[in-house]
Symmetry: C2
Subunit: 356 residues, 2 copies
């Protein structure tokens, strides 16, 4: 027998999720270096067909990526958008006239039968169809007229991490391509993502706050709102803490009743107009003595109970979501470890969810 460096034991909790989170800078870099030209070509072909409306179809983590694209399309392109209620097609057989409509379906696996069925129906109804997936050989990619590959490599952990940030970047590059922009704001993301991941010890210390939390509220506005929803999903599917996400405006319309000094709040504050629009909500939360954890620029974190400072100086607001989810992925991971659970093995979940 020869001595070899032992592999880490396979049963270290969260090993797979940790490895895939750590891959994110490399995934973003690959997409920028190797994927961007193909995405630009797809965008130019679709722009030439002048879609007037966009419908976005997705589930779970991919639905949060689709919501990010909705903000980009509405704000940067002025295209009216909707998120699909899939059952209207798959259960009720609705066949709307989709002439001039771009239907974007986002799915990590590209394998869910209802997404394939609804995309096929959309194409038959006259839509321009685009699939954004991590698998160019998937049934969804096959049934769509256009395909964008997010190039994240195989994702094995049940909680999706690298496919989420890769989908955001791919959608950003696609929307930039539609509007004839160069996507330069994304260039610094791989390096900044690396810096965030290097601060895992900081997140571990912060995670102790939530070890015994029975519920959490996560809020944001504008570009940060998809981050709030994705952070809530990540926390729930790893730690099982009921995490409720609301846009800041919706929070004031009811759920605020639930926030008091035993319901911690996480606010995702993008540095820009979204953060400005969230300001009255932050003031109200502070006025109620809420335990407020801010992920955002330094001046916002200083006014909160705790927080994680994001490097936002010189980072365009519309690409900040690609960074701001990373400390929240780490938080979900660390809270779950602190609670003695395994982030890689949520109860009851299958990686490819087959909904019909």
């Amino acid at each position: 027998m020869t001595a070899t460096t032992p592999e880490p034991p396979v049963d270290v909790p969260g090993r797979t999720m940790a490895r895939e989170m750590a891959e994110q800078p490399a995934v973003l870099r690959r997409l920028l270096d190797e994927g961007a030209p193909a995405i630009r070509q797809v965008a130019q072909a679709i722009a030439a067909r002048r879609p007037r409306f966009v419908l976005l179809t997705a589930r779970g983590t991919s639905d949060n990526a689709a919501l990010y694209a909705k903000y980009l399309l509405e704000i940067r392109l002025g295209l009216p958008c909707g998120l699909t209620s899939m059952s209207t097609t798959t259960a009720y057989g609705a066949r709307p006239d989709l002439t001039d409509v771009l239907v974007i379906t986002v799915s990590q696996s590209g394998g869910s039968p209802d997404l394939v069925a609804s995309t096929r129906a959309a194409r038959e109804a006259g839509a321009i169809t685009l699939a954004v997936t991590n698998n160019p050989d998937s049934p969804l990619a096959g049934v769509s007229e256009y395909h964008v590959d997010v190039m994240a490599g195989p994702e094995k952990a049940l909680p999706a991490t690298k496919t989420y940030t890769a989908s955001l970047l791919a959608l950003y590059l696609f929307v930039e391509g539609l509007r004839g922009g160069d996507g330069a704001a994304a260039k610094q993301l791989p390096e900044l993502a690396e810096q965030l991941l290097a601060r895992q010890d900081e997140v571990r210390a912060l995670a102790a706050r939530y070890r015994f939390a029975e519920r959490m509220v996560i809020t944001s506005r504008g570009y940060g709102y998809p981050t709030a929803k994705e952070a809530a999903l990540k926390l729930m599917e790893t730690s099982y803490i009921p995490a409720l996400s609301y846009s800041g405006a919706d929070l004031l319309h009811g759920p605020l009743a639930m926030v008091d000094n035993v319901s911690p709040v996480i606010a995702v504050v993008t540095d820009g107009k979204g953060g400005e629009a969230l300001q009255p909500v932050l003031d109200r939360l502070r006025g109620r003595g809420a335990d407020l954890f801010v992920v955002g620029p330094a001046h916002q974190v200083e006014q909160a109970s705790a927080g994680f400072v994001l490097p936002t100086e010189g980072v365009a607001e519309e690409v900040q979501p690609i960074l701001e989810i990373i400390p929240l992925q780490l938080l979900a991971y660390e809270v779950t470890i602190a609670r003695g659970q395994d982030p890689d093995a949520p109860r009851a979940l299958a990686k490819v969810t087959e909904t019909h």
Copy 2:
């Protein structure tokens, strides 16, 4: 001094909410008898302008009514729809081209400044604008080209109840008017609503199950999904129980990890295609031994841990949401009373929420 019948003491918890829930059959009847002709006229005027796409704008309870309208418009009219991300207009100044777009804004008070601003912007951008409110003299009604009055009378309790069912019925009648239908399926709703309200004792007994619940999951599919969201909002804003709502398909994509025998699940099962599409989710929940409470037809309640039987025989699926929320409003009320709290006085909420 002469003897008079004493008024009930003003501090009975939940007095206002109870009175307004009880008014619902009369409100529905008034809308059918007195409101329907005006709604049909508005619908005919808008139909003549042939909108190709519908955007729905609302917050809180009204957002759940807007989601119901989205299902109706997609399924019964084949019109592609989206729910507005309001901050794209109010915070980011997006000005999409809204030619051929019908923008429907739903608001009980018609008073929220951001709804007024986004509707004004939509009208300037070429949209056909329709406000659905409980106040024809409101700023929102004033700024919109068309208005539908839900005629629910003043609503004083903070948790909206009668304005919700009235908004659903008004939106149903509007969509029926758009497609040239007669809305006959709604005729029996006032009487059925009365029968449901008469079963409050039954709900009170069921509420004991949730007195000590620390979280709840509420699920549905299709037409019942807005009911699930509204029930979760109602439970949260009265009892402060974190209530998470998911479409059945989304529940399988992550949050199912949170469901076990200590996380009770409420399933809203409409009798029709929505209920059929939910069936695999119900089977999965039963397979996990979840505590499953069903609001739906008798044969579905029989297979659950507990439930409330809805009269669905002969009731068209698309109007069932107007009934199925009623036992869930009662449940929110009774759970809150059982926990020693006051459903009329949620912490921190104002009736007209001014978000900008």
